[in-house]
């Protein structure tokens, strides 16, 4: 991993990744190694391909017929595009939190239990895992008396923490987050950032953010993307204090985007 001082182990290895939507190339020759149990931030002006890159990691593009991908992504040394990969198992291992909180129209409890049921967790263990996940996402105290009320009655920030809770409940190795705070107020944002710092003890986190202070606050590594290319990827401290590329410098100083 470049000239890093942090000792890390690669968990996601991306090389020569190209992605087209129809004729339009959205990702160009991306290569990067994402470190285990670290927080990696993806930054860049909107439309540069951050979400698209993130969604290749759990093969979310399988759902769009006009997406064409070439190149390799290995997770734990396994090529995720290999024909033997069962995509549902991959997605259990690589969880995802979306830009807008998207709880299911079910109760708070069932929102978390659902992922456990479909992934074959034993019935007796489910209540306990639900509770643990709510604790881990700092939500338990706020919802312990209304576990069986509809999740849609929660505030936006609580909904997002619920989505994080349901993601960690199925025990993924990696959590992808696509601007998880962009729909939230500052206080809820702060809570989620604390949560991210806490989660990185156990999980590898890749987070897309348009908020550079957020990248500084939560991430160990930062990748700067521009027009589908990975411009610079390094330790967050390095990117924000002493970037190699002029383009990166301009972006973090707010000269465009």
């Amino acid at each position: 991993m470049q000239t890093t001082k942090i000792q890390t182990k690669t968990i996601i290895d991306i090389s020569d990744l190209n992605l087209f939507f129809g004729e339009k190339q959205v990702l160009k020759n991306i290569g990067m190694n994402i470190a285990e149990k670290m927080v990696t931030a993806l930054i860049g002006p909107s439309g540069c391909g951050k979400s698209t890159l993130l969604r290749t990691l759990n093969r979310m593009h399988d759902l769009s017929p006009d997406a064409h991908i070439s190149g390799d992504i290995s997770i734990d040394g396994q090529n995720i595009f290999h024909k033997n990969i069962i995509v549902n198992n991959l997605r259990k291992k690589v969880g995802m939190v979306f830009q807008k909180p998207n709880p299911f129209p079910k109760s708070i409890y069932d929102n978390i239990a659902y992922g456990l049921q479909i992934n074959g967790f034993s019935k007796e263990k489910i209540p306990q895992i639900v509770e643990e996940s709510l604790h881990k996402s700092y939500l338990f105290e706020e919802v312990k008396d209304k576990l069986h009320e509809p999740a849609t009655r929660l505030s936006g920030g609580q909904q997002q923490r619920l989505c994080i809770a349901r993601t960690i409940a199925v025990k993924p190795d990696i959590i992808l987050m696509d601007e998880p705070c962009s729909a939230l107020d500052p206080l809820s944002t702060l809570k989620i950032e604390e949560l991210i710092l806490d989660l990185k003890k156990d999980y590898t986190i890749v987070i897309v953010t348009h908020n550079m202070q957020q990248a500084v606050r939560v991430s160990d590594f930062t990748a700067f993307m521009y027009l589908g290319e990975l411009v610079e990827f390094d330790e967050t401290i390095k990117i924000f204090n002493n970037p190699e590329k002029q383009l990166t410098k301009n972006y973090i100083n707010g000269h465009f985007g």
Binding site: P65, F104, Y114, N119
Partner: protein
């Protein structure tokens, strides 16, 4: 902007639109008023729980009520599973290509085919070719076909309103496409699907033309015993009493009574649809 300020700014369009709306309501009320005023006096327990007597000039309409209920049940059993299966396919599995668009267009057009055509088709296919005879089954299958396009279209629309983000949420947890449909998409579209089904069933329950050749009879002694026999049904009974009976004047009150029962049945179905929608809306 409140209605008052809108009205002050430019009263004319609002007045014209309001008058049009009122006109429609007036006709509806006239029809209902006419039927109920002459039909309700005829209604009694006896009218509901007895068979017609004396060449239809006396007695009740129990066989026709039971016939219509049975018929609607068969229509439901036919159209519900196929309708939902077809809607799931179109909404969730079908690629958006020419074939799918042709299928969709065909279904929309089927919804516009006159019901008498369904009747003749049912006669040809179920009664003749499949040898089911003129029977509740043939008529129910015919009405099932008639209801399908409407059920498919409304169910598909209900499923399409489930946001992509909800499906992605389930898939991101490792749900397969089938699990996502079963656990997320279908439950979320129950209100829309149920409404569409019940409304199309209430329309089917009132149809005469499709059952004319496929199984309904002027008079059958006793209640229907099995689904392979001819049957009496409310709309057909009404049609007969109003146009085909030799002493039309004498049976006129009975015709009004039958019309009232039919309308009340359809109202009941609509109220059920309304309750289902409300129940699910409040849950979320």
């Amino acid at each position: 902007m409140t209605i008052k300020t809108l009205f002050k700014e430019n009263p004319l369009p609002m007045i014209v639109l309001l008058l049009c709306t009122l006109l429609v309501c007036v006709f509806l009320l006239l029809i209902l008023g006419e039927i109920f005023s002459k039909g309700i006096p005829v209604l009694s327990w006896a009218f509901i729980i007895h068979s017609p007597e004396n060449g239809m000039t006396e007695g009740g309409i129990l066989p026709a009520i039971v016939g219509t209920l049975l018929l609607t049940l068969i229509t439901t059993l036919v159209s519900l599973p196929f309708g939902i299966a077809c809607a799931v396919y179109l909404s969730e599995y079908a690629q958006n290509n020419i074939t799918t668009q042709i299928i969709r267009a065909a279904i929309r057009n089927l919804a516009g085919v006159p019901s008498i055509i369904y009747g003749l088709f049912g006669l040809a296919l179920f009664v003749e070719v499949l040898q089911l005879g003129t029977s509740i089954l043939s008529a129910g299958l015919t009405l099932g076909l008639l209801s399908l396009p409407y059920i498919i279209t409304t169910s598909e629309e209900a499923m399409k309103t489930v946001p992509v983000s909800m499906r992605e949420g389930a898939m991101a947890l490792g749900a397969t496409q089938f699990e996502t449909i079963r656990d997320i998409v279908l439950p979320a579209s129950v209100p829309g699907i149920a409404t569409g089904i019940i409304l199309s069933l209430s329309r089917a329950a009132g149809e005469t033309a499709p059952i004319l050749f496929t199984g309904s009879a002027f008079y059958v002694t006793g209640l229907p015993g099995n689904i392979f026999q001819e049957f009496m049904a409310l709309p057909y009974h009404l049609y007969m009493l109003s146009t085909q009976h030799q002493s039309i004047a004498e049976v006129r009150p009975l015709a009004y009574g039958t019309a009232t029962v039919l309308i009340l049945l359809v109202f009941m179905l609509n109220i059920i649809a309304f309750l289902i929608r409300n129940k699910f809306r409040n849950k979320n």
